[in-house]
């Protein structure tokens, strides 16, 4: 690897840069997060990177940024093969990144933030000189203005994002990677920021890779597009040659391949004649940031039905799940189970046999320090035989009831007494699935990303278990960002976007392109 002398570096970073990725592969253990992905960003163009969650977009970009070097493949900057092992390498070659969330220090002024971001901040900063220099930079080079003396906390979201971009220009980045830069902006702000970026590429000052979920942004601002799907290249091309439907098809994996296949003989009774198990009525929920995350959502779930909620992650599914699991209060609206008000207390859970399995079970559904057997006992520890006389724990029964589940769900563990945090992610998922699915009187089951981190065999196993549950009359709600999974196991599909249910369709007649556009926030 050659180090560029500083004087050449200056010239190098001034030149319009191109970025080529050649067969980039990134493996985490056995899991291939990015599989031989190649793409080209010619100088002065915008390249959109599209894909569902977990498609490998972030992995790919992190390889380019040097956060985790690629397992194999080559990165070329400006036509030269460059070894990028560390973020400082990326910076050296003029590659900068703008993140989804702001990285400005809120209590510092814009000037301070910009100076702080330099890799070579001196121990004592000559603020007078730095301010003068920044003002000159603003007057000559900066394509747009931000108030230098204001604190970052006083800036509006759009101004903050502009500052982040300006920071990259100030650092002399010539290739910019933007990770969903508009997700925290209002539509007007988003349009403004993207238009500014577009101008800079047209002027030949920047080449851009933009990660996005939004088709609108692809069509308005990008020259080329690459679609990733499950770590593999699903499609690539010039934006002007593509239309919405073909893009949606690429993202969903091709309309032809994913036919809904009900995996078990269905009960013949139609949905309408079955009893409603769960009714969600005009539910609104606030997110962690205090903003409305779920807005006026209503739906019904019938016995013996698998209902799917599709959507790009971060559109309110997590908050909806937390309300269903009793982990977050609803702002307005209510839940009804079997026609009665449901509040998520232990008595309600028992009465209605309503189990919830959130995503990331180790964080949301486990007591990591407690043993696996104790974690599996969460639903049953106060019932005989695990509890005698309602209050005395019978540890032998708790261990004993865990043993067949370890067998049936092939959980790899040293034994039921192992703390659950010592299990691998897939095995935690299995253990918690065992807990939620194994109760026989189960009536309502709500699961989110049930197969995340599982291999193919395990995924099939889970799907089979869910289908079995449905066939014995359990009402099942599956929230997933994996559309294939939903098409395979659900009877009916809802699409959630922007905190609302925007589309409903029976799975048997679902049109992928339509679902895709609704997921992307159109429709």
């Amino acid at each position: 690897m050659t180090l560029i002398p500083p004087e050449n570096l200056e010239r190098f970073t001034q030149a319009p840069a191109s970025l080529d990725l050649y067969r980039i592969t990134k493996k985490f253990g056995d899991f291939t997060a990015a599989d031989e992905i190649s793409l080209t960003v010619p100088p002065g163009t915008v390249h959109a990177l599209l894909g569902e969650n977990g498609a490998g977009k972030s992995t790919l970009v992190k390889c380019v940024m040097g956060f985790h070097p690629a397992t194999s493949g080559e990165i070329m900057v400006g036509g030269h093969v460059r070894e990028i092992q560390h973020p400082s390498d990326a910076r050296k070659y003029g590659i900068g990144m703008v993140y989804q969330h702001f990285t400005l220090v809120p209590s510092m002024t814009v000037t301070e933030n910009l100076v702080l971001s330099r890799p070579d901040v001196p121990a004592a900063v000559n603020w007078k000189r730095e301010t003068a220099r920044l003002e000159e930079f603003m007057a000559t080079e900066a394509p747009f203005k931000v108030p230098l003396h204001k604190r970052a906390s006083e800036l509006a979201a759009g101004e903050k994002q502009k500052t982040e971009i300006l920071k990259q220009l100030y650092l002399k980045s010539r290739i910019l990677i933007l990770d969903e830069p508009t997700s925290v902006l209002t539509p007007a702000e988003a349009t403004e920021v993207l238009a500014l970026l577009r101008q800079m590429t047209v002027a030949g000052r920047l080449s851009i890779i933009i990660i996005t979920h939004k088709f609108r942004e692809v069509f308005s601002f990008a020259d080329d597009v690459t679609v990733l799907r499950r770590g593999k290249l699903a499609g690539q091309g010039k934006v002007k040659d593509l239309d919405r439907d073909s893009l949606a098809a690429m993202m969903m994996g091709g309309t032809s391949s994913a036919k809904p296949v009900p995996s078990a003989p269905r009960a013949t009774t139609s949905t309408s004649s079955r009893r409603t198990a769960l009714r969600v009525k005009q539910l609104s929920v606030l997110g962690d940031n205090g903003l409305t995350a779920v807005k006026d959502v209503s739906f019904e779930l019938a016995e013996g039905e698998v209902l799917g909620i599709a959507g790009v992650a971060g559109n309110g599914q997590r908050e909806l799940m937390e309300v269903l699991g009793g982990q977050r209060p609803a702002a307005t609206g209510s839940l009804e189970a079997h026609g009665q008000p449901y509040h998520g207390t232990r008595r309600d859970i028992l009465a209605h046999q309503f189990h919830t399995l959130p995503e990331e079970p180790l964080r949301n559904a486990c007591a990591p320090m407690l043993s696996m057997a104790e974690n599996i006992a969460l639903r049953t520890f106060d019932q005989p035989p695990q509890a005698r006389w309602k209050w005395l724990l019978n540890f032998r029964a708790i261990r004993k009831s865990a043993l067949p589940l370890i067998e049936a769900y092939s959980i790899k563990t040293r034994g039921p007494d192992t703390p659950i945090r010592d299990l691998s992610g897939g095995n935690v998922q299995r253990a918690i699935l065992a807990r939620e699915l194994s109760t026989l009187p189960l009536k309502i089951l709500v699961v989110s990303e049930p197969c995340f981190g599982l291999d193919f065999a395990a995924t099939d196993f889970v799907h089979q278990k869910i289908t079995e549950a449905r066939d014995r009359g359990v009402a099942v709600l599956v929230v997933s960002s994996d559309l294939d999974e939903l098409l395979k196991i659900t009877d009916r599909l809802l699409v959630m976007s922007g905190g609302q249910i925007t589309y409903e369709t029976p799975t048997a007649t679902a049109d992928l392109a339509v679902i895709g556009t609704h997921m992307a926030g159109h429709g």
């Binding site: 009793g326 859970i349 969460l378 520890f381 309602k390 724990l393």
Partner: protein, 375 residues
């Protein structure tokens, strides 16, 4: 297979900590237990060395100082009884920190809960001077539990419903409770005959808590010791063996997961903190009913703060509190001898306690660091 061989199993003795069971099966069964015992022991040893250096700096021979400490705490039956008398309140106040710790809370309001329990016991004792001995004592203990329990519940409620940090609020409540005590013994409850040391009226001699007796054999130690032992065992049982304890431990490990199971997080927290405060309250009741016979500033003698230390050293395990209380009771009992025999200021024992506390807190970061304990 490649993954398995990448982390070779630990060679016994390779880390220099030899005397551990060599067979993997034994280590699986006992590794964690050894870890939980050896790390605190090692920490105490380190504290002993540091305190020895301190003594050396004061011009004293550390070995002679330790010999004196031993003699004054465990060296004779007389000394041992002195130690036991201090062990009793320590066990009870330590539970005040140990129980909420199971819920992931750090409560340090032990001193305040002890004082409130003492006040409650005095009020109860003054109200029923003519009741039969056992009944009156029971009433006083109950009052101590309620007063101390509500005091810590206040902290818990502020945390659960208002998001106030329980460590800060319980610490500040200590000062408030001492102020309340001072107000009461200088005002409404003041015994006019207590001139030098403002105190409440004394409770009747007949309803005082007596000394432990077995037939003809009478100890100088009062029944408070039994209260402490019983409380430790009962609360260990409650936390380890009952559905309530399971709930509490689950909530402590992950409140979010506990909510998923519909466990009553707020109620369990409040009840646990009530029990914790109740224990410290009983300590206050014992101090009143067995030692002072009245409420005055002697109630706030530092047993509450020492209880925090005991709870941390015992790693919040109710049964481990018993031996640790005995140890610290010994150190407290020997503070006088340091002054008399070695001309060290009597706050020297506080230096020792402080060193132990710091080293124990530091040793918390060592768990899981030693491969030798890994199954």
């Amino acid at each position: 297979m490649a993954e398995l061989s990448a982390t070779p199993s630990v060679q016994p003795g390779s880390a220099g900590l030899a005397p551990l069971p060599a067979s993997p099966r034994l280590r699986r069964a006992w590794g964690p237990a050894f870890e939980a015992i050896l790390i605190p022991l090692g920490a105490i040893l380190l504290a002993l060395v540091l305190f020895g250096l301190f003594c050396k700096a004061q011009g004293q021979d550390p070995f002679k100082v330790y010999a004196s400490i031993y003699k004054a705490s465990f060296g004779s039956w007389f000394a041992f009884q002195n130690t036991l008398m201090r062990t009793a309140p320590l066990m009870l106040t330590a539970l005040c920190t140990a129980l909420p710790a199971r819920l992931g809370m750090i409560v340090i309001g032990n001193e305040g809960a002890l004082v409130m329990g003492g006040i409650g016991a005095v009020i109860a004792g003054l109200a029923v001077p003519a009741w039969p001995h056992h009944l009156a004592l029971g009433f006083m203990a109950l009052s101590g539990i309620v007063w101390g329990g509500l005091w810590i519940s206040l902290s818990a409620g502020l945390r659960q419903y208002r998001g106030v940090n329980e460590t800060i609020s319980s610490l500040l409540l200590n000062y408030i409770s001492i102020a309340i005590l001072n107000h009461l013994v200088n005002g409404p409850m003041k015994d006019p005959t207590s001139l030098n040391k403002p105190s409440s009226f004394p409770i009747a001699e007949e309803i005082m808590l007596g000394r432990i007796t077995f037939g003809d054999f009478t100890m100088r130690v009062h029944w408070g010791l039994a209260f402490g032992l019983v409380a430790c065992v009962i609360l260990w049982f409650l936390m380890q063996r009952t559905t309530f304890g399971f709930q509490a431990r689950f909530i402590g490990a992950n409140p979010k997961a506990a909510r998923l199971g519909g466990l009553p997080v707020n109620r369990t927290t409040l009840i646990t903190c009530f029990l914790a405060g109740g224990c410290a309250g009983v300590a206050g009741m014992v101090e009143v009913a067995a030692v002072h016979g009245r409420a005055n500033e002697s109630l706030a003698a530092g047993f509450g703060y020492a209880g925090i230390l005991v709870a941390f050293v015992a790693r919040f395990h109710p049964l481990a509190i018993v031996p640790v209380s005995l140890l610290l009771g010994g150190i407290l009992a020997s503070s006088g001898i340091l002054q008399r025999a070695h001309k060290l200021p009597d706050s020297t024992s506080l230096v020792f306690q402080g060193l132990v506390f710091l080293v124990i807190l530091f040793s918390d970061s060592l768990y899981g660091r030693f491969k030798i304990f890994k199954p």
